[in-house]
């Protein structure tokens, strides 16, 4: 992402090397993204998600929901200064246990409840639960 810094932030998306023009439900697996930002359904080959494997992987296909996950990671990083799952084992633990994030940033009241609600939605384990980019924009935050 390319930016002109604040107060009038201008952010542009770059790096379209991996992007794919295709039908919404037929995005084939391509496991070559940037790992801390990659959705769990893209990491079938290098992570063990235990009994939730089938729920996450959705028969080796994935959807636009992979971008919603990445936006959740970016949002978390912008709010806290670090990514929620720096290592594969952190992501695997999140999926396997369905526990809250390893480093819980909303506990001290610094960040709004609305931001928590949206970030958690973007980072839902099941791709179908993350909503669309339009829905994210329309969330009360």
């Amino acid at each position: 992402m390319v930016v002109q810094s604040g107060p009038d932030w201008k952010v542009k998306i770059a790096d379209f090397g991996l992007s794919k023009r295709t039908a919404a439900t037929q995005l084939r697996t391509l496991n070559t993204g940037t790992k801390p930002y990659m959705a769990p359904e893209l990491r079938k080959d290098d992570l063990d998600f235990g009994k939730y494997r089938d729920e996450i992987y959705n028969s080796s296909e994935y959807t636009f929901a992979v971008d919603l996950w990445s936006l959740g990671i970016i949002m978390y990083e912008l709010l806290t200064g670090s990514v929620p799952f720096p290592k594969g084992k952190d992501l695997a633990a999140y999926i396997q246990t369905k526990q809250p994030f390893p480093d819980y940033p909303w506990g001290n009241g610094r960040l709004s409840k609305q931001s928590e609600r949206l970030c958690r939605k973007l980072l839902r384990q099941n791709p179908d639960d993350r909503g669309s980019a339009g829905e994210a924009a329309a969330e009360p935050w």
Binding site: V2, V3, Q4, P7, A23, S70, L79, G81, S115, A137
Partner: protein, 66 residues
């Protein structure tokens, strides 16, 4: 436009994060951009704050392309 103003989003993130109102401004631009891509049946698949393989001339072109 000054090249010096531009760069990866990553390098503007302080150690403890940006103030929430600024995050909101940035994220809403990203939601709009990704929403547009998806409406065009395109998934980006590698969204992240840093960019690779770009030089100042590329930045300049991108920021002036609307």
């Amino acid at each position: 436009m000054e090249y010096l103003e531009l760069g990866d989003l990553l390098k503007y993130i302080p150690r403890k994060g940006l103030p929430e109102p600024q995050v909101k401004v940035i994220m809403h631009q990203l939601f709009d951009a990704v929403g547009f891509l998806h409406e065009e049946n395109t998934a980006h698949r590698d969204l992240k704050p840093e960019v690779r393989h770009f030089n100042a001339s590329d930045f300049h072109k991108m920021l002036n392309f609307d």
